[in-house]
């Protein structure tokens, strides 16, 4: 079985600070990590490889320094890694990103399964995974919390919902996005880390993946970010005192005032 995992390198959210004047992320000195949700996708891919055999290819689109995220993925058990990197990809929104990744996956060739984290911890859109499956025209199952079985070109999975979970059977190849309930990612192994150190990372540019130049980067991105701002801090609440009846009528009045 050939599993492809799509990952993203993101700033470590535990130490992200916002520039109070410009309202932008202060990226200097902030450690880059694999998007935490993607670590579950990597672990699941490695677990499935251990269960059913095969290999795991990890792919990311990003700047040259995203190579360190790919090396970490190799230390965790992935077999091959591809960095799709080109200045032409700069400014990609989720549409252009998923198109670029889909083109890269087409170049990789045959596969049985694509795994993604449910969303990235920086953008939080949860759109790139589903976008890839759309560009590749394959089925998608989002929010997978358990892969029950894979046999005869079919996968049976549990998809998390707000009330519980659905059991879904899907033909392969397909794309799944996974939630953190699916597994506990392992720590890297020393042998994996050494393998990662000497691992050769395949690097592809826009030309290599034969993508339509109009569909990538800023030009290929229909989304326009108009404004980024920090939500104003919540003001302190008001404590109502008095007997229950009095408070209830005041609460009703206040709710009416703010038109709920």
């Amino acid at each position: 079985m050939h599993i492809i995992v799509c990952i993203k390198q993101v700033p470590n959210t535990t130490d992200v600070r916002i520039d109070p004047v410009k309202n932008t992320l202060i990226r200097e000195g902030v450690e880059s990590v694999i998007n935490p949700f993607d670590t579950y996708a990597i672990e699941e891919a490695v677990l499935l490889k251990e269960r059913f055999g095969g290999k795991v290819t990890v792919v990311t689109m990003g700047p040259p320094q995203a190579e360190s995220a790919l090396k970490e993925a190799i230390s965790l058990g992935c077999d091959e890694a591809i960095l799709v990197s080109d200045r032409k990809f700069a400014g990609s929104d989720t549409w252009a990103t998923s198109y670029t990744l889909a083109c890269s996956i087409k170049k990789i060739g045959t596969f049985d399964l694509i795994l993604c984290g449910k969303q990235a911890s920086d953008g939080d859109t949860a759109q790139v995974g589903p976008g890839i499956s759309t560009h590749l025209d394959i089925p998608q199952v989002t929010y997978v919390k358990k892969v029950e079985d894979i046999s005869g070109n079919k996968a049976k999975v549990e998809r998390m919902t707000e009330e519980g979970y659905d059991v879904i059977e899907t033909p392969l190849p397909c794309l799944m996005t996974v939630v953190k309930e699916i597994n506990t990612p392992r720590l890297p192994s020393l042998k994996g880390m050494m393998k990662a150190k000497s691992a050769k990372i395949t690097k592809w540019t826009a030309d290599d993946i034969k993508c339509d130049p109009k569909s990538i980067g800023l030009d290929g991105s229909p989304t326009r970010v108009v404004k980024i701002f920090t939500p104003p801090p919540r003001k302190g609440g008001e404590v109502l005192k008095g007997d229950a009846g009095e408070i209830a009528s005041r609460v009703a009045g206040l709710l009416k005032d703010i038109v709920i």
């Binding site: 720590l187 890297p188 020393l190 050494m194």
Partner: protein, 384 residues
Amino acid sequence: MDYLLTEQQIMIRDLARQIACDKMKPLAAKYDESEEFAWEIMKVLSGSDIFGIYIPEAYGGLGGGVMELCLATEELSRACGAMALGFAGTALGTYPILLYGNEEQKKKYLPDIAKGKKLAAFCITEAEAGSDAGSIRTTARKDGDHYLLNGTKQWITNGGEAEVYTVIAITDKAKGARGASAFIVEKGTKGLDFGKKEKKLGIRASATREVIFTDCRIPKENILGKEGMGFIVAMKTFDNSRPGVAAQALGIAQGAYDLAIDYARKRIQFGQPISSFQAIQHMLADMATQIEAARALVYSTARMVDSGAKSVAKESAMAKLYASDVAMKVTVDAVQIFGGYGYMRDYPVEKFMRDAKITQIYEGTNQIQRNVIASHLIKESMKG
């Protein structure tokens, strides 16, 4: 302080630190209380290849030595000296095979130990043979193609949990110290039994049991080296493993110090953090200095062992003696800095004090270490 570690050593140290922080620290109090053996942590260590760091690559390890063993043991012990002992005790049980095993024995046992599939244990101590290792009574009698083992080993670290036991037993009583031999005994061998798990002051998550041999029949191929080499095997094993005990003590001291300085900065008395008081500052300064001195001695000794130096007994004894005495002093002081809270089991620091004590006792009491050091000093002095 920069100890000029290699890239691989830094990798090992950092990964061990990550395991200690992420996996061991949250469970240390639970396992201390329940006194269970932390198999879930052994699985993490095994998955991360930690068990193989001091085993040659030819047998599935990473090809490091005592220095790597010390770095990992130190980091793991910062979180829990007891869980770390599952690893370090395995190293102690493995060294006899590494040092004196023949090719078949190494091929048979080392790969599983390197992978963490099997733990090991070293069996020398008996009820009447502690510091006086010459008083061992466990016997191994040759019987055709086999040896028959009889006797009881006491306080065996990893006893009952380990799969591979390296055992010192008497093959010829008349020869005294030259009448002991070393053997490999596998768990599951008929006649090998385990006593109940001992209840201890500290390192409570470590399994300590009697290992009992009753007409335990093992193939004669399981002897390590030759008949009569038992004490040489034991002494050379200790030369290699004592820096490991020293590293465990060092980690325990560092772990207690980390808690103490953190607490001192947060604890407010008389309107200010107690770290602003000179009385506390001087304690912290002494603790940190002693830990650093111990670390320098432990690392230097480990490197000396790895360099293939002929005699390391004196230096190994010095490292074990000094680091464990530092561990005891630093952990007592850490509890003192915590004051009443330090005495409470709800706080993590008293465990470090309980765990530290054993490092002054096992693998040769610190009194025995001083004997070893002194005898070398006098011999060296006589040579001029």
